[in-house]
């Protein structure tokens, strides 16, 4: 039996029936990582010792006949933008190359408390800024479905790890699509909960009002299970909501007949057929499941990219100010005085995209420009959120393509940041509105080389249960088929 191809539920069942130990599952994954990672390059750092220790702890529970927690023995990969106590956390940046956090993020602590085994830290775009994982200061990650292609980003390492069976589930972070888009590119499921559903404590901040932690999985059930574990109010993150977390798995298999699915026309205007055809087939499949399909409009969609890149860069320029060489991380040598230390450290420590966003963000917050850019963007953000609120008066779920393009070739877009930004067009709107979203596999492109296409599903604030239900129904109906 291939222990690396199992779902979280199957791992737990295996342990319970003593057909395998958590340590075996863990070692099998570490072996596979040793074989496959040199090619995929999903991981930046392995936490082998911590993983084995945790696996043995789970095995002791089995041996003592104690009840097994929900993620017992499940191997998990964690995006390197999420801090892990004692395990190097670089954000794929040179500026944090040797940074070892003294504390765990809430999400990681909750996963481990639920029995999960943290295998290591995955590659991403530097400080989660990018859509291809090519902005990693260390190396690009390859798409396990097609090694010439990018895995998407910024959580490309996590998506690739799950797609290549180098972890059962993974944590990513999503600011403008950084979980959903790589999930689509790698042909797996990836979800971002409502803003405030999952604690951001320990997520290295890129754009605080947009950042989320969320799970990747090869099945909707795994995603639901991991989300349930990491979700919920956290006193350490004031923006988490004090709203009970439902048992997503309990309602997962419910019938979706009668659920109204909205299709926003703005997301299909000018969409290339290689994506559009798959999404249309997906919508037809939902109709066959008994969903009511409704055409809707989200009129402010066209302003979303501009709005998103003003807000996220503004917040980033402030969030990244702490990397100054004073307390931790890189400090450039050969400086003469404080100012030069700052300049040299930040020049040597940050990559081109990070610098570009810091400069953009500094500009839009500067006196004289704040009103025209930042304030205006906040107003547009409210309009985009209102579009969704009004749409959800009519429909339960909205479906769109996750990305306007299939996974592109490594190096294809690195010199064209604007093209890269435009690839986020379908994902940034939900981020701005703070609503939950999931990307699920929706077939392969018709033409060679047959690349994965993702369908994005969105729901009302805190209606993750409904979202997961529809995603699960779609999965069961064969919608996930990638062959």
């Amino acid at each position: 039996m291939d222990l690396t191809a199992l779902t979280a539920d199957e791992v737990r069942e295996l342990l319970r029936n003593k057909k395998a130990s958590a340590e075996e599952v863990c070692r099998e994954h570490l072996n596979r990582i040793r074989q496959k990672n040199p090619e995929v390059r999903a991981y930046l750092t392995l936490s082998e010792e911590r993983a084995l220790k945790q696996a043995r702890k789970v095995d002791r529970l089995v041996a003592e006949g104690k009840p097994l927690p929900i993620l017992a023995g499940v191997p998990v990969a964690v995006k390197d933008a999420i801090v892990t106590r004692g395990v190097r956390t670089t954000c794929a940046s040179k500026i944090l190359e040797n940074y070892i956090p003294p504390y765990d993020s809430t999400a990681v602590a909750r996963l481990e408390a639920a029995g999960a085994v943290i295998l290591g830290k995955t590659n991403c775009d530097e400080f989660a800024m990018g859509s291809s994982t090519e902005n990693s200061a260390y190396f690009p990650t390859r798409n396990p479905r097609n090694p010439d292609r990018v895995p998407g980003g910024s959580s490309g390492g996590s998506a690739a790890a799950v797609a290549a069976n180098l972890a059962t589930v993974a944590l990513g972070s999503d600011t403008g699509g950084s979980i959903r888009q790589p999930a689509a590119f790698c042909g797996i499921a990836g979800m971002m909960g409502t803003y405030g559903r999952v604690s951001r404590y320990g997520l290295v901040a890129f754009a605080s009002s947009l950042d989320h932690i969320g799970p990747f999985g090869r099945s909707v059930r795994d995603v639901a299970r991991a989300l349930k574990v990491i979700a919920g109010c956290d006193p350490a993150d004031s923006t988490t909501a004090d709203i009970p977390v439902p048992d997503y798995e309990a309602t997962l298999e419910e019938d979706v007949r009668g659920v109204t699915v909205g299709v926003p026309q703005e997301y299909f205007n000018g969409l290339s057929p290689e994506i559009g055809d798959n999404i249309q087939k997906g919508i037809d499949r939902l109709a066959k499941l008994g969903c009511k399909i409704a055409c809707i409009s989200l009129p402010h969609t066209e302003y979303a990219i501009a709005c998103y890149y003003i807000i996220c860069t503004a917040e980033a320029s402030s969030n990244l100010a702490r990397y100054d060489g004073v307390r931790y991380g890189l400090r450039a040598a050969g400086h003469d005085g404080l100012r030069e230390m700052y300049k040299k450290t930040r020049d040597a420590g940050f990559g081109a995209e990070v610098k570009r966003r810091i400069m953009l963000g500094t500009y839009v917050l500067s006196s004289g420009y704040y009103e025209a850019y930042y304030r205006k963007a906040q107003q547009v953000r409210s309009l985009i959120a209102r579009d969704f609120l009004e749409a959800f008066d009519e429909v339960d779920v909205i479906v769109t393509p996750t990305s306007p393009i299939p996974p592109f070739k490594l190096g294809e877009k690195v010199d064209d940041p604007l093209q890269m930004y435009l690839a986020d067009i379908y994902t940034v709107t939900a981020s701005l509105a703070g609503i939950p979203g999931i990307s699920v596999p929706c077939g392969l492109t018709r033409t060679e080389p047959h690349l994965p296409v993702g369908m994005q599903m969105l729901a009302r604030h805190f209606d993750e249960a409904r979202l997961l239900q529809v995603a699960r129904a779609f999965e069961k109906s064969g919608g996930f088929e990638l062959m």
Partner: protein
Amino acid sequence: MSLAAEVRTQYEVVIGLEVHVQLLTQSKIFCGCSTRFGDPANTHTCPVCLGLPGALPALNREAVTMAMKAALALNCGINPRSRFARKNYFYPDLPKGYQISQYDEPLAEDGWLEIELNGAPKQIGVTRVHLEEDAGKSLHEGFPDSDRASYIDLNRSGVPLIEIVTEPDLRSPEEAYEFLTRLKTMMLYLEVSDCNMEEGSLRCDANISVRRAGVSEFGTKTEVKNLNSFRFLQRALAYEAERQIKVLEGGGEITQETRLWDSREQRTHGMRSKEFAHDYRYFPEPDLLPLTITEEWKEEARRSMPELPAARKQRFMREYALTDYDADQLTHSKALASYYEEVVKQGPDPKLAANWILSELMHLLNDAKKDITESTVTPRNLAELLTLIAQGKTSGKMGKEILAEMFASSRRAEEVMAEKGLRQIDDVEMIAAAAREVIAANPRQVEQYRNGKTATFGWFVGQVMKATRGQANPQRVQEVLKKELA
């Protein structure tokens, strides 16, 4: 080269203050670390106040309550919704590269504080009171490699502050001094801060400009920083006002700039404008929700407020029949007012107690450079002394001696009185005996007196007092002498 008084009076000085007050919460404003002062560097730190990647602030409710108490005492309106904002700038002791403060939506606005100068009360407008976090401290001295390196102590990083901004209502350095004094008194009454300028728990910057008398527009202002004591504040502002007048009188213009007070040279220096050409790029803090103050919370803050100086002064005048001046002096410090009330509680005459505290005790304290809280004479002991005086067991004059000894040795009044023989002789027979001796020894004076030269009566009193080594009750001596000389 001082300015001629005639020139100075042609100008009006306009001052506004920005005061930072450290709140006395147990823990920091956005994390659970202790706020204790004076511990080894960087021992009260955590991921939040160190600004580690991924850490997030969580607001300390107690800091908000304390800030509200201060704002209410300054007659401000509390905004039902306020918001934190990030003030962005690079500095080594600012771990996040931004300070979490409040900007366009402060906690409280639009208040006032009354000051009194030369008996004339005046309301000084308070523009706003807002909450923010303190930065750490840069240590530039005291290390073997201090010529090459600076060290950072982040124990203070994240300690809660309130910033109090006044209207440009102050018209002289003396008024500024008086305002800061009253403000400090208020904060001490509220127990929201210890307002220790040396430890940095009270910090003050001043905006100052001058204009020709009668002109309604403000002149160009400068911001004066580094005012580390009440005296410096007054001196720096006096210096800066005079400097500005001299510039204008010389046909020059005032440059809007930040100037630092140099206490050694007793002057202000302009800072290179580049160092302060900050664009703080304020924007709403996305890591914290807007701060909502419910009516209940506001009431909770209001209920926990003690009696404030103005109210206490009025009560002292009403309950203890004190003069305006005495009541003002006594309530100027919360500790002094409480000391006074402790004394009065023991029974002595309130007026007598006020006199003795404000003159004799304060005198002793000032000479010893001590605060009322450090007084070796307890309220109970002072009350005992005042009772002895009232009962005629000792005199006012001897009482002063007794108090000085009590102050020096922390002993009780009775004990000192007995040991030093400072007991007043009240016994009529003893006094009569002494009087008769004086009369017998001075027949000529007696005869003169009896012949109508009654002005010598005082001389007889003096003689009897002398004979009793000053211990006789003068009242009693007079009564006895009148009888014996008749």
